[in-house]
Amino acid sequence: MIMMHIPKLIDRMDFGLMSPEEIRKISVTKVVTADTYDEDGYPIERGLMDSRLGVIDPGLKCRTCGARSGDCPGHFGHIELARPVIHVGYVDAIYNCLRATCRKCGRILLSESKLEEYLKRIKEMREVGWKWWGMTNEIVKSASTTEKCPYCEEKQAALKLEKPTGFVESKNRLTPSDVRERLERITNEDAMLLGINSKIARPEWMILTALPIPSVTVRPSITLESGARSEDDLTHKIVDIIRINQRLSENIEAGAPHLIVEDLWELLQYHVTTYFDNGVSGIPPARHRSGRVLRTLAQRLRGKEGRFRGNLSGKRVDFSARTVISPDPNISINEIGVPEYIARILSIPVRATKHNIEDLRNLVRRGPDIYPGANCLISSDGKRYDLRYADCEELAKTLEPGFIVERHMMNGGILLFNRQPSLHRMSIMAHEVKVLPGRTFRLNLSVCPPYNADFDGDEMNVHAPQREEAQAEARILMRVQEQILSPRFGGPIIGGIQDHITGAYLLTRKGTLLTREQSQQLLATAGVFASLPKPAVKEKGVEYWAGKQVFSMLLPRGLNLTFKAKICENCTRCKKEECEIDAYVVIRDGQLLRGVMDARSYKALDRCEVLDRIVKDYGTTAAREFLDRVTKLSIAAAVMFGFTTSIDDEDIPPEAKERISEVLDDAREKVNKLIEVYNAGELEPFPGRSLRETLEMRIMEVLAESRDRTGEIAEKYLGLDNPAVIMARTGARGSMLNLTQMTACVGQQSVRGERLSRGYRGRTLPHFKSGNLGAEARGFVSSSYKDGLKPLEFFFHAMGGREGLVDTAVRTAQSGYMQRRLINALQDLRVENDGTVRDDRGAVVQFVYGEDGVDPARSDNGKAVNVEKIIERVVGG
């Protein structure tokens, strides 16, 4: 019989205050001694580590529930406080209660009619399920300004809150006992008006008379290597409280002077306050003997590493692994290369049936060290056998249907792969396992963009989903091929990068002819084993195939596309099919007739027309196959033709250099003239700008323009046969601006969008005269990277570079916080069965998602339906 686990669900969680009686009721023991363990290392009775509070030491049994360490959840104890103290978290609420109620009769300081009205409104709000305490502030404000009690006519004395826990009424300090007395007088109905739900929390419960002591499981002590015990911060704090409490009660009993009792009471209040929150302003934080600030209750919950964000919203998990990543162009985008070492440790539970029992038996027999094997065996009665310490042969024999075998991760299994920061859902995708030798995770280069991964030492994590449901969900919803289209803009986020683009360009550009051997070899590398079409050219008895023909072998039949490639120069009159640089792409019935393949065709994150169309029309499997093949084909092509780049790609002839320096001289001249005009006071300011600002803007303009002109000159000497230019123009890597900076002129360096001006008074460096506004005195770099920067230019460049670095650091922090807030605000929204978007309360935020109910990931770049495409399909293009 198969045991079914019926999951328990938490349906609701109620919050409330505990009354002193309740605290005593749940308490398993009164804690009276401030000591922990006796000489033998056993917990002292009625001490802080009393074994009725729970156990943490492995050998002991809990005296309350009888369970051992690990199973015993821990039980609360309590301390009877000699005098009541205020709970710091509630001083504001107490203050509100005190000043809004009559000092004498305890009624709320509101007239009968007002009171009725507020009560009615609160009742209404409760009925609709709104936050009924929303009016508390208003009520308190109106009540606390009332001077005379409408019920007993008592004149109200001024009440002040002395942070953090003191109350002063016309120069008399109120003791917590006084405060408690007053709170007791507040009626249940009045408490509601003050935002206190009297069914759950009485106002006087905000003053503590009994203090609950958390179990030892909450504050475990650590045994150091030396054998000495080190107690938790909370334990230290409780020790303080018990000691002072003891002294206080002794003094009271001995009838000590009022002053001493008051002092001790104050001290007790301090310790209880810091026990709850050690970051209250106005009092010094409690410290450890070593001077370290103690981490008490509030500190445990708060902040990024606190309980909520650090342990509850994000948890540490089993069945995960982390290592460095490296590329493997030969595996599919759906796959992940997993080192055998990791595959041996990550396990998957498999239930034995009569169909798989023999296979599983073999795995068990091989044990945990021989891959593929198994790590653990769980018998039908739930007993675990760790194969590391057992006789695998023997255990294998006992295996029968119903047993669960935790076998090693095997090829074809599913893993979740993740790289931090997980900024979008494509940061965690499901990959199929491929166990490979080596110590790194291997991934296909095309999945770098969604993870934003590179291989300069990046590490990534995997998680192994255990249950069949989880595995099925991962495979169906999270697999890489299902994530090709980004929900951000409805276009592909997975696609070719870098060499994939250059390779495809080299293969498909005009004049690429391949022999039969070459064509076959390329296609075989890409995994295509179809027969070649008719050769394009036959010369001297040798058959040649055009690169476009070879490329077309990967395109699905029936694909029709027309678009402009990335290399398109945006001529004023497009020559279409007659384009000289072959930038007009025409694909008919899966045949690439004209144009080249470049970034526009299948680069990730670009407007990749071909890939985009394939995913949307032929499905994700077809797209994955296309991508797997096209990347291999492109790389094979690049290898076959040879592709390399080096600094001599940026060589330009001397006459070009001369022209560039002429342009730069000219620019300097222009700048000087502008400065002259400015100095003469003849510069015409832009509206709303000062003269100085205008001058700067004009100079920047002149210099930017000259840099562009030097770039244009350099570009003329760098044709499309230059590898660096091929990369830039096809969109594979780098830009023409990068090339310009390498060959011609680096240009103006800037900080905060302005020319450099900081350093000395009126000048950037002592090499210039004060007030020099000329081009090179303010960070214009006229050299090229290749020629090398002059020392001063290098310095300026470093100034600009530093700003970039600071900028990046600040930006990641800012955008990270913005995203956290966005996620937090929006995460509860989902589409309901009726098509509306609602939040967790069920309140409608949108009646139809996005006004048309269209999922951006399934849209055609944002449009609901591609009408043209449908008409073309039916009527014909």
């Binding site: 966005l822 996620i823 995460q827 967790d840 849209s859």
Partner: protein
């Protein structure tokens, strides 16, 4: 064979009304009429096209349970890392400062009361938009001029306790102001005596105290003489064959009331001002527009639906709320959701006094409890009755 007539196309396509979005219907009609001119479309083809469009629309719809909120947040947040941080950038109008990039996006989701660079785009009615003079005149009219703008020199006569202003003749003339006008403004706003002596004004406070005089001086300098309050700098620009007025600083209600202004297009980048003047729906559109502009300017492609959802969430309560602890997140129903976001202890302590109860309907609450979250496959609430078992006992 002759194709169907344009009228048939229209009537057939109109049958899709209410079935698919209006934009699609319009696009389909336009494309069909265009194609219909070039070649004949048979009735069968027309039917097939309409069926195809309908099917394509159904295929593109969101599935119930889809975590649209999280996806929207990620889609807006993720490009944030790629944005520039440089606050001021000269875009469009070189003369005006505009906040762009990440700081502007943060400003929008923060729903700041006052944007760090308020800006208005004022379109003029036909009559004024075509003439440079009239546009200039209007610009002149709305630009706020304070006393300080027309003052050449200020002196404090400490013996007589008098504040002496020397006005700049040329600046006064350019703004068509006279000393007497300035004096009447000052007298109207403050209780003072003022004497005119050509372009010199001698202003005497009612009391004889020095500190009073100093306070008075700064008050007088800031007095507006002319123009619309808040409009600090005005630039007229030719755009698409009409003159458009851009202003630094904004005052939507007063500008909209001016007769020269084309109220249908004039706008400001201050979302709260739009909310106050035109209402939440307008504010919602303003948020969408502003966020979209910011992202587009950076060359980042983000689907509008994500921005719309964010804007709708910010305005769903009826007022513009910030995406943070004082707005959407702080007003959540769930105690645990609020506590796990910010100001943890305060939310927990208050929840106890209020006797709140957390229904665990949201996402983060269930993550905290270690339960399946109500999204996607987790949103299905189905119970299976196993074989051989009868219903609940």
């Amino acid at each position: 064979m002759a194709g169907v007539s344009p009228d048939t196309i229209k009537t057939e396509v109109r049958k899709l009304d209410g079935v698919v979005p209006e934009a699609v219907v319009k696009g389909l009609e336009g494309s069909l009429l265009r194609v219909g001119k070039e070649r004949a479309i048979t009735r069968e083809q027309l039917g097939e096209i309409i069926k195809g469009v309908n099917q394509a629309y159904v295929n593109a719809m969101v599935e119930p349970g889809e975590a649209v909120g999280t996806v929207a947040a990620q889609s807006i947040g993720e490009p944030g890392t790629q944005m520039t941080l440089r606050t001021f950038h000269y875009a469009g109008v070189a003369e005006l400062n505009v906040t762009l990039g990440l700081p502007r996006l943060i400003e929008i989701v923060d729903a700041r009361r006052v944007p760090s660079a308020a800006l208005m785009t004022i379109y003029l009615k036909e009559k004024y938009a075509k003439s440079k003079e009239k546009a200039r005149e209007f610009a002149q009219k709305i630009e706020m001029t304070t006393v300080e703008d027309v003052v050449l020199q200020t002196e404090m006569d400490l013996i007589n306790i008098v504040f002496v202003l020397t006005l700049d003749r040329s600046r006064m003339q350019r703004r068509e102001l006279t000393p007497s006008k300035v004096v009447s403004t000052i007298k109207g706003a403050l209780k003072v005596d003022a004497l005119i002596d050509g372009y010199k004004l001698r202003i005497k406070p009612t009391t004889q105290s020095l500190s009073e005089l100093r306070r008075l001086a700064s008050k007088i300098r800031a007095l507006p003489l002319h123009g619309v309050k808040g409009i600090n700098r005005v630039v007229v620009k030719m755009e698409d064959n009409e003159y458009v007025v851009y202003t630094e600083g904004s005052n939507l209600s007063e500008i909209l009331a001016m007769p020269e202004v084309d109220q249908t297009r004039t706008s400001t980048n201050n979302v709260h001002e739009i909310e106050a003047v035109l209402g939440v729906e307008a504010a919602r559109n303003a948020i969408i527009d502003e966020a979209r502009k910011t992202l587009d300017e950076q060359g980042l492609d983000v689907d509008v639906r994500h921005i719309m959802l964010a804007a709708d969430m910010m305005t769903a309560s009826g007022t513009v709320k910030q995406m943070g602890r004082h707005g959407v997140s702080g007003g959540k129903a769930s105690v645990l959701a609020r506590a796990s976001f910010e100001i943890t202890t305060k939310h927990l302590l208050e929840a106890c006094v209020h006797g709140e109860s957390d229904r665990l309907d949201g996402i983060i609450e269930n993550v905290i409890a270690g339960q399946p979250i109500p999204l996607g496959t987790g949103s299905v609430e189905l119970a299976m009755r196993r074989e051989g078992e009868s219903g609940r006992k």
